[in-house]
Amino acid sequence: MPADPNMKILVVDDMATMRRIVKNILKQLGFSNTDEAENGQEALQKLRADTFDFVVSDWNMPVMTGIDMLRAIRADEKLKAIPVLMVTAEAQQANLVEAIQAGASNYIVKPFTAEVMQQKLGKIFK
C-alpha cells in the first residue's frame, strides 16, 4: 500500500537539528502531518496517547534509546503494527542486525539525502 500523504508521522531524535531535518525532508516528500519526541520514552507516551501511522527514530538517545523504544513498540499489542524506520550514525553490521531482530522496518545511516528517505519510504509502504 503506497504511503498516505496524510499519515501521521512521529519523528524521534534528541537533537533538535535532526528532528527538523527529518521533518523538512518528509515535508518535501509530501508528508506534513508530523509530530516529534526527544527520546524513546516521550515517543512511547505520544504513541499511546494518540494515533500514529509511522515512526522515524534515532538510535542513540538519553532516557530511552531508539532500539529499546522499538522493542517496546513491538511488544505492545496496540502499537506493534506501526512501521518504524531507524535513522542512526551507527553503521556497523551488528547494529543493523540488532535493529532487524528488534523489528525495524528499515534502516538509514546518517548522513542521508532526501532521495534515500524517499527510497526507504517506498520500500516500507510498497
Partner: protein
C-alpha cells in the same frame, strides 16, 4: 632457621624500599599530569559550549532555508496560476517562459533540501563531541583517583589524612556514572595541596 628469618627480613626490607621508590616515582610522574588535570573540566565545558554554538548556528541556517523554501513554494504556485491564465488567453510563448521560471525555482528547491540535509553534520559532530566529553570526564576521574591513592603533593607537604582519602575515594566512586561535580574535584585537589 634464624638465618632464614634474617634473609627473609632483608628481602622484605628490599621489597618495602622498592614499593616506596615506585610510589615516589608515580607521585613525581603524576605532578605534571595533575597540573593539567585542573584544566580538564574547563576543556569539557568548552566542548559543551561548542556543541551549543554549532546547534544554534545550524538552527538559524535551517530557519532561513525553510523561509526560502516556503517563499519559493508560494512563488511556484503563483507562477503556475499565471501560466494557466496565459494559456487561456493564447499567450503561449509567454506562458512557456513563465513555466521555465517555475521549473528553475523548483530546481532551487531541491538545492535547498540538500542544504537542509547537509546540516546533519551538526548532529554527527555533536555525537563525537559528547564522546570526547565522556572521555575527558573519565580521564579527570582517574587522575583524581591517582591524587587520592598516592597522596601526590604539589608543594611537598605531608599527605592528607588517610580517613579523609578513603571518604574522597567514595565520593569519586559515586560520580563515576556522571560528570564529577567541580566542588568535589576542588575539595580533593585542595586536600592534596593543589590550589
Amino acid at each position: 632457621m634464624q638465618e632464614g628469618s634474617k634473609k627473609l627480613y632483608v628481602e622484605l626490607g628490599d621489597l618495602a624500599r622498592f614499593v616506596e621508590d615506585a610510589m615516589r616515582t608515580i607521585s613525581e610522574v603524576g605532578k605534571p599530569l595533575l597540573s593539567g588535570n585542573s584544566e580538564l573540566p574547563q576543556a569539557s565545558a568548552h566542548l559543551v559550549d561548542l556543541n551549543k554554538m554549532t546547534e544554534e548556528g545550524t538552527l538559524e541556517v535551517m530557519r532561513l532555508t525553510e523561509m526560502l523554501q516556503d517563499n519559493r513554494s508560494l512563488a511556484v504556485k503563483e507562477l503556475a496560476g499565471i501560466v494557466e491564465t496565459l494559456e487561456a488567453v493564447d499567450c503561449l510563448g509567454l506562458a512557456r517562459r513563465v513555466q521555465k521560471i517555475g521549473l528553475d525555482l523548483g530546481q532551487d528547491d531541491k538545492h535547498l533540501t540538500e542544504i537542509m540535509t547537509a546540516l546533519s553534520f551538526q548532529d554527527l559532530v555533536a555525537q563525537r563531541v559528547k564522546k570526547l566529553v565522556t572521555i575527558l570526564d573519565d580521564v579527570h576521574g582517574k587522575l583524581m583517583e591517582l591524587v587520592v591513592v598516592f597522596g601526590i603533593q604539589q608543594n611537598g607537604d605531608s599527605p592528607a589524612d588517610p580517613g579523609k582519602a578513603s571518604e574522597m575515594l567514595k565520593q569519586l566512586e559515586a560520580t563515576k556514572t556522571s560528570s564529577m561535580k567541580q566542588t568535589v574535584a576542588n575539595d580533593i585537589l585542595a586536600q592534596f595541596g593543589f590550589k
